[in-house]
């Protein structure tokens, strides 16, 4: 699992646990002896709190947006580097050249000859490190700098037909 994947999982679990604690407190409040005796104080309080809850959610999402939007894949720098042409065609990959050098930027130009495919690039430890759509009649460019030499695998990440799961390029080499 990549560090980003691990981070997403851990961050998510923190919020889930917080949510479950709140849910448990709400449900526990319905136990006999803790109930509102009809005076409606809690209801009035909740109605006052409602807009503040909305503000809290908006602020939380605003912060998340500010932290993440500038790292969208289309904002990534695609500067010059070793060029690699990747073409998907049912059900295989044409990759040219088949090896690149470590620690030097690699510019992937990804396209398709027939239907939509996607280049899912896995590192030698089996971690998904990049995901680039291969759209027919279009080319998508992404740049990546490999820091580990070894054999990388490309798996198709967009459903493309009955041999989709066999659309694998097994040996993209990154050399020292």
């Amino acid at each position: 699992m990549t560090s980003l994947g691990m981070g997403i999982g851990i961050g998510y679990m923190i919020f889930v646990v917080l949510g479950l604690i709140i849910a448990a407190v709400v449900l526990y409040s319905t136990k006999r002896g803790r109930r509102d005796n009809g005076e409606g104080v809690d209801v009035a309080r909740a109605e006052r709190a409602e807009p503040w809850w909305a503000v809290f959610i908006v602020v939380l999402l605003g912060v998340l947006l500010a932290l993440t939007i500038w790292r969208a894949p289309w904002f990534q720098d695609n500067g010059p580097g070793q060029k690699v042409q990747v073409t998907g065609i049912q059900f295989g990959w044409a990759v040219q050249p088949t090896s690149v050098k470590v620690n030097e930027p690699v510019q992937f130009n990804v396209t398709s000859m027939d239907v939509n495919h996607a280049m899912g690039l896995f590192d030698p430890e089996g971690r998904l490190i990049m995901n680039v759509q291969a759209v027919p009649n279009y080319t998508t460019t992404r740049t990546h700098t490999f820091t580990e030499p070894g054999t990388y695998i490309i798996r198709c990440f967009e459903f493309c037909g009955y041999q989709h799961h066999k659309m694998i390029y097994p040996a993209f080499k990154v050399t020292a």
């Binding site: 699992m1 980003l4 994947g5 997403i8 999982g9 919020f15 889930v16 949510g19 479950l20 709140i22 849910a23 709400v26 409040s29 319905t30 109930r35 509102d36 809690d42 209801v43 909740a46 409602e50 807009p51 809850w53 909305a54 959610i57 999402l61 998340l64 947006l65 993440t68 939007i69 790292r71 969208a72 894949p73 289309w74 049912q90 059900f91 027939d114 239907v115 899912g120 089996g126 998904l128 990049m130 995901n131 680039v132 759209v135 027919p136 279009y138 080319t139 998508t140 460019t141 798996r155 198709c156 990440f157 967009e158 459903f159 037909g161 009955y162 041999q163 989709h164 799961h165 066999k166």
Partner: protein
């Protein structure tokens, strides 16, 4: 048929509670609505059975416990996706809409549209089943253009044409449903003080809460369940049109191979519908929560203006979020997709508000209430908690920078099963436990069997979903008939949980069967069913 209005509620009744002292015209309508809704429930539940078995076959195939050749696996996947999402959950919630509306004092004004909705969906689903399982169409439920015309010899263009026409029929069903809901809601039943069309529209979309001096109703309180239903109906009507256009293009191309459309345009037409369709399930589910939870809590829904604002935000932004499904489509020289992606991350975030405000309202309604616990209310609570759990995943999915790690992985599959099965699905079971006694006149479900059903479903479904999400975080691709070996352990472990899930559904069927075999009850005081006050 003319509209009959419910009589004024007796002292102590909750607002918008129509189910009392029915006058003869309304009683007749109730009988007809009840029959319609029951037919809907049995049909969609049968679709669940079929789609569930197909889903099980998919996981058994991935675990290599059974052998399915590539195209058969993908044809089953296509049938399962459409069957479970549209034919079961979507169809059930479309059907239960009529009952929730009736209970809120909005009887169906014309049965033509609901009947059209029912039959176009049933015929469409049968066409989908035939073209996938018999015709071999295995393009997935999104049939990402131009895949349907590149079958590698696995199905013909004719099959693509019939499949597209079948899905189009299901689309027509959604259109007639939306028209039917709007016709039922924007009606005299709103009891606008000045009964004009403008007043009715304003009240239906929550302006009675936002601007009470301008939009007044003799009901005294805005019927909250109407809000998500009206929003969904207007949005889904608009969102279905581009999808219908794409299907028409596919039908034309299946007859004339020289015809084609731009791939990116096709993707946008697909997802303009493909995301909002989630709300075809979620918003009627929200309406059902809004209706049922206050009944178990014994107090009206605790909600104010913010919840109305959130539904207006949903009404607006629901139609402008589709491009988050196309985050990875940013080919060189096409700035439009990049711009759409940049705009539609915040608009997607905005759609968190109706969920967040709904969960707040439901929690405030339950808080320190004399909450009535039974099998129906337990299912509803479990569903609402899952709404939170799955909703948080939705925020992650809406974040473009995470796509290298998550896009088209099993994380996404786990997410939508979490949302569709463990939020909407549990709500569906809860609604069945709550409404079936009054719909069938048979009291009532065995609570112990109901609890086993609940816990079996929770343990089974969460176990399976967590396995999928973990695999996804670890890079497991979705829509693979045979996953790489590294993922096999969790695939097989998930089958243990799926077995628990299946056993739980068998328990439910036993409970349902024994309940239906009982004699109808006569006592009107228990008409409300499984403990609903």
């Amino acid at each position: 048929m003319t509209t009959a209005h419910p009589p004024a509620p007796p002292a102590g009744a909750l607002p918008y509670d129509a189910d009392f002292a029915l006058d003869p015209p309304l009683a007749l309508l109730q009988t007809r609505t009840r029959r319609l809704v029951l037919r809907w429930i049995w049909t969609s539940t049968a679709f669940l059975g079929i789609a569930g078995v197909l889903g099980l076959l998919l996981r058994l195939g991935q675990a290599e416990f059974i052998s399915l050749d590539g195209n058969l696996w993908y044809a089953i996947m296509t049938a399962h996706g459409l069957g479970a999402f549209i034919a079961w959950a979507g169809f059930f919630l479309m059907g239960i809409t009529w009952w929730v509306l009736f209970k809120c004092g909005f009887p169906i004004r014309s049965f033509i549209l609901p009947e059209l909705t029912y039959w176009t969906m049933v015929i469409g689903v049968l066409g989908i089943v035939a073209t996938t399982l018999l015709g071999g169409f295995g393009g997935s439920w999104v049939f990402l253009y131009p895949l349907a015309f590149h079958s590698s010899g696995q199905w013909s263009d004719l099959v693509t044409g019939v499949f597209s026409a079948s899905v189009l029929l299901a689309g027509v069903s959604i259109l007639t449903y939306c028209a039917g809901v709007l016709h039922t809601v924007i009606s005299p039943a709103l009891k606008a003080e000045k009964d004009t069309l403008g007043q009715r529209i304003g009240l239906a979309f929550g302006f009675g809460l936002l601007w009470p001096s301008r939009f007044k109703t003799k009901r005294g309180v805005e019927p909250y369940p109407v809000l998500p239903l009206a929003v969904n109906a207007l949005d889904m009507f608009l969102a279905t049109l581009p999808f219908a256009l794409l299907l028409v293009f596919q039908i034309i191309q299946s007859a004339d191979s020289g015809f084609s459309i731009n791939t990116l345009l096709a993707g946008n037409l697909l997802w303009a519908f493909g995301h909002p369709v989630v709300y075809l399930l979620l918003f009627p589910a929200a309406a059902t929560y809004y209706y049922l939870i206050p009944r178990y809590a014994g107090r009206p829904l605790v909600a104010g203006r913010a919840v109305a604002v959130s539904w207006l935000i949903a009404l607006t932004f629901n139609l402008f979020v589709w491009a988050h499904h196309l985050y990875m489509n940013y080919p060189n020289g096409n700035d439009i997709q990049e711009t759409l992606g940049t705009i539609m991350q915040p608009t997607t975030y905005a759609l968190v508000l109706p969920s967040a405000m709904s969960l707040f309202s439901l929690s405030a309604t339950i808080w320190r209430s004399n909450f009535q616990w039974n099998v129906a209310s337990k299912f509803l609570i479990a569903g609402a908690v899952s709404w939170l759990v799955a909703g948080l995943q939705g925020i992650i999915n809406a974040t473009s920078m995470f796509q290298d790690t998550l896009h088209n992985t099993l994380w996404v599959v786990g997410h939508f099963h979490n949302m569709a099965f463990l939020n909407m699905g549990l709500l569906i079971f809860g609604a069945m436990y709550a409404f079936l006694p009054e719909l069938t006149g048979r009291l009532h479900f065995n609570e112990r069997l109901g609890s086993w059903h609940l816990w079996g479903t929770l343990i089974g479904a969460y176990g399976w979903v967590v396995c999928q999400m973990w695999q996804g975080l670890d890079g497991a691709p979705r829509r693979w008939a045979r996953l790489p070996d590294t993922y096999m352990g969790l695939t097989r472990l998930s089958l243990v949980f799926l077995a628990i899930l299946v056993i739980a559904q068998v328990i439910f069927l036993v409970n349902l069967y024994t309940t239906l075999r009982r004699s109808p009850f006569d006592d009107p005081s228990v008409r409300q069913g499984s403990g609903v006050k």
